[in-house]
Amino acid sequence: MNINWYIVLSALLFTIGATGILVRRSPMVILLCLELMLNAGNLALVAFSREVGNQQGQVFALVVMVIAACEVVVGLGLIVAIFRRKLPLDVDDLRRLHG
């Protein structure tokens, strides 16, 4: 398979994730869509690392995984904190900082 296919697939996954962030309103699903976008980036990194025949891109992908794990941990902590304060779990209702 040509590397092109992987890159186009990664672009498609990235746009699906971006659409999800735009249309969904539950913070949990928005976090999941962020994961989709990060994974699309990972796929592109690994595909490019295969294209040049160099493994450093895979190390980048591993670091992206670490960043994603951190983001999930902090995001889920925020969701639990929101839930415990009995606030609505809806990003359109949580707009007190909205200017």
């Binding site: 398979m1 040509n2 590397i3 092109n4 992987y6 890159i7 186009v8 697939l9 672009a11 498609l12 990235f14 746009t15 699906i16 971006a18 659409t19 999800g20 735009l22 249309v23 969904r24 539950s26 949990m28 699903v29 999941l32 869509c33 989709l36 994974n39 990972n42 796929l43 690994v46 595909a47 690392s49 295969r50 294209e51 040049v52 025949g53 493994q55 450093q56 895979q58 190390v59 992908a61 670091v63 960043i67 994603a68 794990a69 951190c70 983001e71 999930v72 941990v73 902090v74 889920l76 902590g77 925020l78 969701i79 639990v80 839930f83 415990r84 009995k86 609505p88 779990l89 809806d90």
Partner: protein, 176 residues
Amino acid sequence: MEAVIFFIAAIGAVGGAIGVVAARNPFYSVLALIAHLFSLAVLFLLLTSAFVAAAQVVVYAGAVMVLYVFVVAYVGSAQEAKWDPVPGQRLFAGLLAFFLFVEISAAVLSSGLRALSTHGPDVPAGFGDPAAIGNLLLEKFLVPFEASSVLLLIAAVGAIVLAGRKRQGEALGASK
């Protein structure tokens, strides 16, 4: 053979991604994301990066998704309102996504990178296996490796502080 596996995994990945976006219940979104991650691991294997594929399955589909499942079970699956807060939000989101996809694809495919339309160079047998990646992580990328471990520690402590028990006097804070 490689093409068949690629298309099966690609359909799985795209289907999982659409499932994440489209499922009403967050629990089904999480399950769809797990399917998506497994398909991506197959794609990583096709790209001869065994270690990244293994880390994807063990770390992502194993550990991170368990965290999600716990939080979904704790918070419960509230249904989202069906109306759009901004008129035509879905339509505009779809349009924007379509143009974003066209733009990224055009940018990549019309780039001067000629090696993109090849398989990539022939690589030695140990390409992307744990030993090679481990050597890179512990020699060339030692500082980023340690920095990411510190980042993980900070994130864990931050999550405990955020989601920990309510302190005295902090009981209210509800906006409505």
